[in-house]
């Protein structure tokens, strides 16, 4: 019932993947939920057997960021980056590179929040170093995504 919009995944160019989603909240709150570590940890962890164990953000241009996801079995998946643009409540741009570099180099993430009538459209675009890098990343996403069962999703919808 809290699900205010369906997620659209598009490939705007051969090096990008973009996700577009509408949220039933003003954009300063969406921006806050994306930039306050204690809030980010509550939602940005992918399948249920993962959690965002480390979330550090030095929220200013040139500031660093560090995310580490940890699986129930102890496996870690870390990512570091640098903020390029920090313009609340509208725009956030940062680079990211995974510890195990399965995206073939740095990617650039652009987050744009636009607000209309109290609702926010979030557009999250990832620019990869090459088409091959993007495709490999999509493939990894698929393998992890497959771990999320529909039962769990239904549970989330109920909460």
């Amino acid at each position: 019932m809290k699900n205010s919009g369906t997620l659209k995944v598009i490939t705007p160019s051969d090096r990008e993947v973009a996700m577009i989603r509408v949220f039933d909240a003003p954009r300063h709150l969406v921006f806050e939920a994306w930039t306050k570590p204690e809030l980010v940890k509550r939602w940005l962890y992918g399948p249920d057997d993962w959690r965002l164990a480390v979330c550090k953000m030095n929220l200013k241009p040139g500031g660093g960021l560090r995310f580490v996801w940890r699986h129930d079995d102890g496996q870690d998946m870390g990512m570091s980056g640098v903020f390029r643009e920090v313009a609340p409540p509208e725009r956030l741009v940062f680079t990211e590179i995974w510890d195990e570099d399965w995206t073939d180099g740095e990617t650039l993430v652009t987050i744009v929040c636009s607000e209309h009538a109290g609702k926010t459209t979030l557009t999250q675009t990832v620019l990869y170093s090459s088409r091959e890098a993007r495709d490999a990343a999509l493939k990894t996403g698929m393998e992890h995504g497959a771990a999320v069962s529909y039962d769990r999703l239904a549970e989330l919808l109920k909460s």
Partner: protein
């Protein structure tokens, strides 16, 4: 999968696939719709065929190309799974946002 994406990544081949979505076409017909000569079109068609994206049958003197649904379906499933992992994230974000909204409302009321 990578093969499908590579085959589709070339703009002319992508256009051929788009063209074939309306139904099977003869090579000459495809040439008429593209700004390419027949040998180039044939080369692209051969690549699409190697990637399993199109089937060819010979009808009298003409080679008729048709789209094969399976690789495109596979691609869709692939993107769908990527979408699902983020849908999970964003559904949780919905919950966080509802909470922030409620808190803000409360703060607003106490201030007044």
């Amino acid at each position: 999968m990578i093969e499908t994406l590579q085959a589709l990544a070339e703009p002319n081949r992508f256009q051929i696939v788009e063209l074939l979505r309306d139904g099977p076409r003869a090579v000459g017909d495809i040439v008429d719709h593209l700004a390419l000569r027949q040998p180039q079109v044939s080369k692209h068609l051969r690549l699409l065929s190697d990637a399993g994206l199109v089937d060819v049958r010979v009808d009298a003197q003409r080679r008729i190309y048709a789209l094969r649904a399976a690789p495109l379906k596979e691609l869709e499933v692939w993107i769908e799974r990527y979408r699902r992992i983020w849908e999970g994230n964003f559904q949780r974000l919905d919950g966080v946002l509802q909470e922030l909204k409620a808190k803000e409302k409360k703060r607003g009321r106490t201030r007044r």
